[in-house]
Symmetry: C2
Subunit: 119 residues, 2 copies
DNA sequence: TTACGACATGTTCGGGCGAACATATCGATA
DNA sequence: TATCGATATGTTCGCCCGAACATGTCGTAA
């Protein structure tokens, strides 16, 4: 069975949203301790990764990422408690959907054309 | 509390996907019996509505929309059994997510900036 | 005090997608 | 057989967003 990707996205106001891309970025930042490393890991330019971090930090009441400059390592970034919480809630929503919606997802998948055959 | 919109999107192969926009369109077609009326209802041009219908029909093993031309009414469109099923499964997934994920959604919402205040 | 690595920020360019506009076609009914 | 409303399809335009490129800034350790 081919993979069916689920994309979940939450829209709070007009200037605040959260989806898979930002979740992956937060996860990579938590893992590597830097925005640039996270950018490389997730295949996006540092420019874009930083822009997303900025959007995330201004899109929530409390910043999600805490960054620092200078030092022997050049600087770094870590998730704040809020960042950890947001990521956890989002991943949990994905898990809930995948589990509780398995029936419907499988049904839809069986109706859709899969990528291998002509149709 | 401001509304938090949930957007769920399923990606089957590279040429087959289903999300809120197409779901709304299908729903409007079912309700009005024509692509053009559905387009007006959902606020999209007929051109776009028709394009989406074409994408939907070719994105599933069986067409989701059955259309006909001519006649006194000019023509019309109806959902096929598959179309009805796809729409139902999608709406069900949305409902499942909203219900089972209520806790997480509310938590995220409380952390995000809402659209009314400065921050 | 120099060097290094990451943060921070501006600018330009190109591609993809929807909007808008323009036609052509069909067929039951009056 | 003329009409009418909806399907069917092509084409052009403008905008937004990410990609790519460029440059400046910071602070600790060597």
């Amino acid at each position: 069975m081919p993979e069916t990707r689920l994309r979940l996205r939450l829209h709070f106001g007009p200037a605040s949203m959260f989806g898979p891309g930002r979740a992956d970025l937060l996860e990579a930042i938590a893992e590597h301790g830097s925005i640039s490393a996270a950018g490389r890991k997730t295949g996006m330019s540092y420019r874009r990764a930083w822009s997303l971090v900025e959007a995330l930090n201004s899109g929530f009441k409390t910043p999600l990422v805490d960054s620092s400059r200078g030092g022997s390592a050049g600087g770094g970034a870590r998730l704040t408690e809020t960042g950890i919480a947001v990521l956890a809630h989002f991943r949990n929503l994905e898990a809930i959907l995948a589990k509780a919606g398995a029936q419907d997802i499988e049904a839809l998948q069986s109706l859709a054309v899969d990528m291998h055959d002509g149709k």
